[in-house]
Protein backbone atom coordinates (compact mmCIF):
# COMPACT_ATOMS: atom_id res chain seq x y z
CA UNK A 1 0.00 0.00 0.00
CA UNK A 2 1.30 3.43 -0.88
CA UNK A 3 0.64 5.89 1.89
CA UNK A 4 0.18 9.55 1.07
CA UNK A 5 2.92 11.15 3.13
CA UNK A 6 3.77 14.73 4.00
CA UNK A 7 6.70 15.91 6.11
CA UNK A 8 7.19 19.59 6.88
CA UNK A 9 9.52 21.47 9.18
CA UNK A 10 8.39 25.04 9.55
CA UNK A 11 8.49 28.10 11.76
CA UNK A 12 4.76 28.81 11.31
CA UNK A 13 1.93 27.30 13.35
CA UNK A 14 -0.06 24.44 11.83
CA UNK A 15 -3.68 23.37 12.00
CA UNK A 16 -4.32 19.71 12.79
CA UNK A 17 -7.87 19.73 11.40
CA UNK A 18 -6.64 21.12 8.07
CA UNK A 19 -3.98 18.40 7.86
CA UNK A 20 -6.47 15.65 8.69
CA UNK A 21 -8.89 16.98 6.07
CA UNK A 22 -6.11 17.06 3.48
CA UNK A 23 -5.45 13.33 3.91
CA UNK A 24 -9.00 12.08 4.33
CA UNK A 25 -10.96 14.34 1.96
CA UNK A 26 -12.97 12.38 -0.58
CA UNK A 27 -11.78 8.99 0.68
CA UNK A 28 -14.05 6.22 1.85
CA UNK A 29 -11.34 3.73 2.82
CA UNK A 30 -10.13 5.69 5.86
CA UNK A 31 -11.71 4.20 8.99
CA UNK A 32 -9.31 5.43 11.65
CA UNK A 33 -7.45 8.69 12.18
CA UNK A 34 -5.01 9.15 15.04
CA UNK A 35 -3.46 12.52 15.73
CA UNK A 36 -0.77 13.43 18.20
CA UNK A 37 -0.06 17.06 19.02
CA UNK A 38 2.89 18.09 21.16
CA UNK A 39 2.27 21.34 23.01
CA UNK A 40 4.74 23.66 24.76
CA UNK A 41 4.13 23.34 28.49
CA UNK A 42 4.59 26.24 30.88
CA UNK A 43 7.10 24.32 32.99
CA UNK A 44 10.25 22.27 32.57
CA UNK A 45 11.10 19.95 35.46
CA UNK A 46 8.73 21.89 37.67
CA UNK A 47 10.23 25.31 36.92
CA UNK A 48 8.20 27.84 34.95
CA UNK A 49 9.45 28.72 31.48
CA UNK A 50 8.81 31.81 29.38
CA UNK A 51 9.42 30.16 26.02
CA UNK A 52 10.94 27.26 24.13
CA UNK A 53 13.31 27.62 21.19
CA UNK A 54 13.77 24.73 18.81
CA UNK A 55 16.86 24.27 16.67
CA UNK A 56 17.16 21.52 14.04
CA UNK A 57 19.51 20.12 11.45
CA UNK A 58 18.09 21.19 8.08
CA UNK A 59 18.32 18.47 5.47
CA UNK A 60 19.03 15.71 7.97
CA UNK A 61 15.79 16.20 9.90
CA UNK A 62 13.57 16.06 6.81
CA UNK A 63 15.41 13.04 5.37
CA UNK A 64 15.30 11.13 8.66
CA UNK A 65 11.62 11.82 9.30
CA UNK A 66 10.76 10.80 5.74
CA UNK A 67 12.71 7.56 6.19
CA UNK A 68 10.80 6.79 9.38
CA UNK A 69 7.48 7.63 7.75
CA UNK A 70 8.38 5.18 4.95
CA UNK A 71 9.29 2.58 7.56
CA UNK A 72 5.93 3.09 9.32
CA UNK A 73 4.14 2.73 5.99
CA UNK A 74 6.03 -0.51 5.32
CA UNK A 75 5.15 -1.93 8.74
CA UNK A 76 1.50 -0.96 8.95
CA UNK A 77 -1.23 -0.61 6.29
CA UNK A 78 -1.46 3.17 6.23
CA UNK A 79 -3.46 5.36 3.92
CA UNK A 80 -1.73 8.56 4.92
CA UNK A 81 0.84 10.05 7.29
CA UNK A 82 1.61 13.69 7.98
CA UNK A 83 4.39 14.92 10.24
CA UNK A 84 4.89 18.62 10.92
CA UNK A 85 7.56 19.86 13.32
CA UNK A 86 8.07 23.52 14.12
CA UNK A 87 11.35 25.28 14.87
CA UNK A 88 12.12 28.69 16.36
CA UNK A 89 10.54 30.32 19.40
CA UNK A 90 7.36 28.81 20.81
CA UNK A 91 5.34 30.04 23.79
CA UNK A 92 3.63 27.92 26.46
CA UNK A 93 0.30 26.66 25.16
CA UNK A 94 1.41 26.77 21.52
CA UNK A 95 1.80 23.66 19.38
CA UNK A 96 5.28 22.22 18.75
CA UNK A 97 4.63 19.34 16.41
CA UNK A 98 2.01 16.92 15.16
CA UNK A 99 1.67 13.48 13.66
CA UNK A 100 -1.43 12.29 11.83
CA UNK A 101 -1.84 8.66 10.77
CA UNK A 102 -4.76 7.38 8.74
CA UNK A 103 -5.62 3.75 8.15
CA UNK A 104 -8.60 1.51 7.48
CA UNK A 105 -8.25 0.11 10.99
CA UNK A 106 -7.40 1.59 14.33
CA UNK A 107 -4.55 -0.69 15.43
CA UNK A 108 -2.35 0.38 12.50
CA UNK A 109 -3.11 4.07 13.00
CA UNK A 110 -2.29 3.91 16.72
CA UNK A 111 0.89 1.85 16.29
CA UNK A 112 2.27 4.04 13.51
CA UNK A 113 1.62 7.27 15.42
CA UNK A 114 3.25 5.85 18.55
CA UNK A 115 6.26 4.59 16.55
CA UNK A 116 6.77 7.96 14.84
CA UNK A 117 6.49 9.83 18.13
CA UNK A 118 9.09 7.61 19.77
CA UNK A 119 11.44 8.35 16.88
CA UNK A 120 10.75 12.09 16.91
CA UNK A 121 11.31 12.32 20.67
CA UNK A 122 14.61 10.47 20.73
CA UNK A 123 16.42 10.45 17.40
CA UNK A 124 15.15 13.26 15.20
CA UNK A 125 17.80 16.02 15.06
CA UNK A 126 15.94 18.70 17.03
CA UNK A 127 17.10 20.43 20.19
CA UNK A 128 15.01 22.37 22.68
CA UNK A 129 16.20 25.33 24.67
CA UNK A 130 13.99 26.74 27.43
CA UNK A 131 13.92 30.27 28.74
CA UNK A 132 13.73 30.32 32.55
CA UNK A 133 13.97 33.08 35.13
CA UNK A 134 17.71 32.47 35.47
CA UNK A 135 18.50 32.24 31.78
CA UNK A 136 18.32 29.92 28.82
CA UNK A 137 19.15 26.25 29.18
CA UNK A 138 19.19 23.31 26.78
CA UNK A 139 16.72 20.59 27.65
CA UNK A 140 18.43 17.32 28.53
CA UNK A 141 17.36 14.08 26.84
CA UNK A 142 15.21 11.83 29.01
CA UNK A 143 16.18 8.21 29.59
CA UNK A 144 12.51 7.22 29.48
CA UNK A 145 12.26 8.54 25.93
CA UNK A 146 15.21 6.38 24.89
CA UNK A 147 13.61 3.34 26.48
CA UNK A 148 10.34 3.97 24.66
CA UNK A 149 12.17 4.15 21.34
CA UNK A 150 13.93 0.86 22.16
CA UNK A 151 10.57 -0.91 22.01
CA UNK A 152 10.74 -0.79 18.24
CA UNK A 153 14.05 -2.67 17.90
CA UNK A 154 15.44 -4.54 16.02
CA UNK A 155 14.39 -2.37 13.11
CA UNK A 156 15.09 0.78 15.10
CA UNK A 157 18.57 -0.49 15.87
CA UNK A 158 19.62 -0.61 12.24
CA UNK A 159 19.53 3.17 12.21
CA UNK A 160 21.85 3.40 15.19
CA UNK A 161 24.71 1.78 13.34
CA UNK A 162 25.97 3.41 10.22
Amino acid sequence: MTALSTVRIQREPFDVATEVAAITRGRTDAGAVVTFTGICRGDENGEPIASLTLEYYPGMAEAEIERHVAEAAARWPLIGVTVIHRFGRILPGQDIMMVVTVSSHRAAAFAAADFLMDYLKTRAPFWKQVEKADGRIWVEAKATDDEAAGRWAPSGKSHAAQ
Binding site: M60, A63, F126, W127, D145
Partner: protein, 85 residues
Protein backbone atom coordinates in the same frame (compact mmCIF):
# COMPACT_ATOMS: atom_id res chain seq x y z
CA UNK B 1 41.29 15.69 3.78
CA UNK B 2 38.81 18.56 3.57
CA UNK B 3 35.62 18.33 5.62
CA UNK B 4 32.64 20.49 6.46
CA UNK B 5 31.95 20.27 10.20
CA UNK B 6 28.63 21.44 11.62
CA UNK B 7 27.69 22.06 15.23
CA UNK B 8 24.24 22.24 16.82
CA UNK B 9 22.67 23.34 20.10
CA UNK B 10 25.15 23.75 22.96
CA UNK B 11 27.99 22.24 20.93
CA UNK B 12 27.49 25.10 18.47
CA UNK B 13 27.34 27.64 21.30
CA UNK B 14 30.57 26.37 22.89
CA UNK B 15 32.50 26.12 19.62
CA UNK B 16 31.16 29.59 18.77
CA UNK B 17 30.15 28.90 15.17
CA UNK B 18 27.53 26.84 13.36
CA UNK B 19 29.92 25.32 10.81
CA UNK B 20 33.38 25.44 9.33
CA UNK B 21 35.55 23.82 6.69
CA UNK B 22 38.54 22.03 8.18
CA UNK B 23 41.61 20.31 6.76
CA UNK B 24 41.96 17.08 8.69
CA UNK B 25 45.36 15.32 8.97
CA UNK B 26 45.55 11.87 7.36
CA UNK B 27 46.22 10.32 10.77
CA UNK B 28 42.63 11.15 11.83
CA UNK B 29 40.49 8.26 10.53
CA UNK B 30 37.45 7.90 12.80
CA UNK B 31 34.79 10.14 14.35
CA UNK B 32 36.36 9.65 17.80
CA UNK B 33 39.80 10.66 16.46
CA UNK B 34 38.24 13.70 14.82
CA UNK B 35 36.76 14.71 18.20
CA UNK B 36 40.20 14.39 19.83
CA UNK B 37 41.82 16.37 17.03
CA UNK B 38 39.16 19.11 17.16
CA UNK B 39 39.53 19.32 20.97
CA UNK B 40 43.21 20.15 20.49
CA UNK B 41 42.41 23.19 18.38
CA UNK B 42 41.51 25.54 21.22
CA UNK B 43 39.73 26.09 24.50
CA UNK B 44 36.30 26.47 22.91
CA UNK B 45 36.63 23.06 21.24
CA UNK B 46 38.04 21.46 24.40
CA UNK B 47 34.99 22.81 26.25
CA UNK B 48 32.51 21.64 23.62
CA UNK B 49 33.94 18.13 23.52
CA UNK B 50 34.88 17.87 27.22
CA UNK B 51 32.48 14.96 27.71
CA UNK B 52 32.54 12.94 24.47
CA UNK B 53 29.93 10.50 25.86
CA UNK B 54 27.16 13.05 25.46
CA UNK B 55 28.16 14.05 21.95
CA UNK B 56 26.27 12.55 19.02
CA UNK B 57 27.61 12.57 15.47
CA UNK B 58 26.25 12.25 11.95
CA UNK B 59 28.21 11.66 8.75
CA UNK B 60 26.47 13.06 5.72
CA UNK B 61 23.27 13.26 7.73
CA UNK B 62 23.25 9.69 9.01
CA UNK B 63 23.76 8.97 12.72
CA UNK B 64 27.10 7.24 13.35
CA UNK B 65 29.05 5.83 16.28
CA UNK B 66 32.45 7.12 17.46
CA UNK B 67 34.23 4.22 15.73
CA UNK B 68 32.78 5.12 12.30
CA UNK B 69 35.44 5.81 9.65
CA UNK B 70 35.41 9.31 8.18
CA UNK B 71 37.25 8.68 4.94
CA UNK B 72 34.12 8.93 2.77
CA UNK B 73 32.59 11.84 4.67
CA UNK B 74 31.74 15.20 3.13
CA UNK B 75 29.94 16.70 6.12
CA UNK B 76 30.22 15.70 9.77
CA UNK B 77 27.90 17.13 12.41
CA UNK B 78 28.25 17.12 16.20
CA UNK B 79 25.40 17.73 18.60
CA UNK B 80 23.98 16.79 22.01
CA UNK B 81 21.34 14.04 22.42
CA UNK B 82 18.20 15.01 20.53
CA UNK B 83 15.25 16.54 22.37
CA UNK B 84 12.65 16.99 19.64
CA UNK B 85 8.98 16.07 19.61
Amino acid sequence: MSLKVRYFAWVRERVGKPEEDVEVPASVTTVAELVTWLSSRGEEYAHAFANPKVIRAAIDRIHVKPQAPIDKATEIAFFPPMTGG
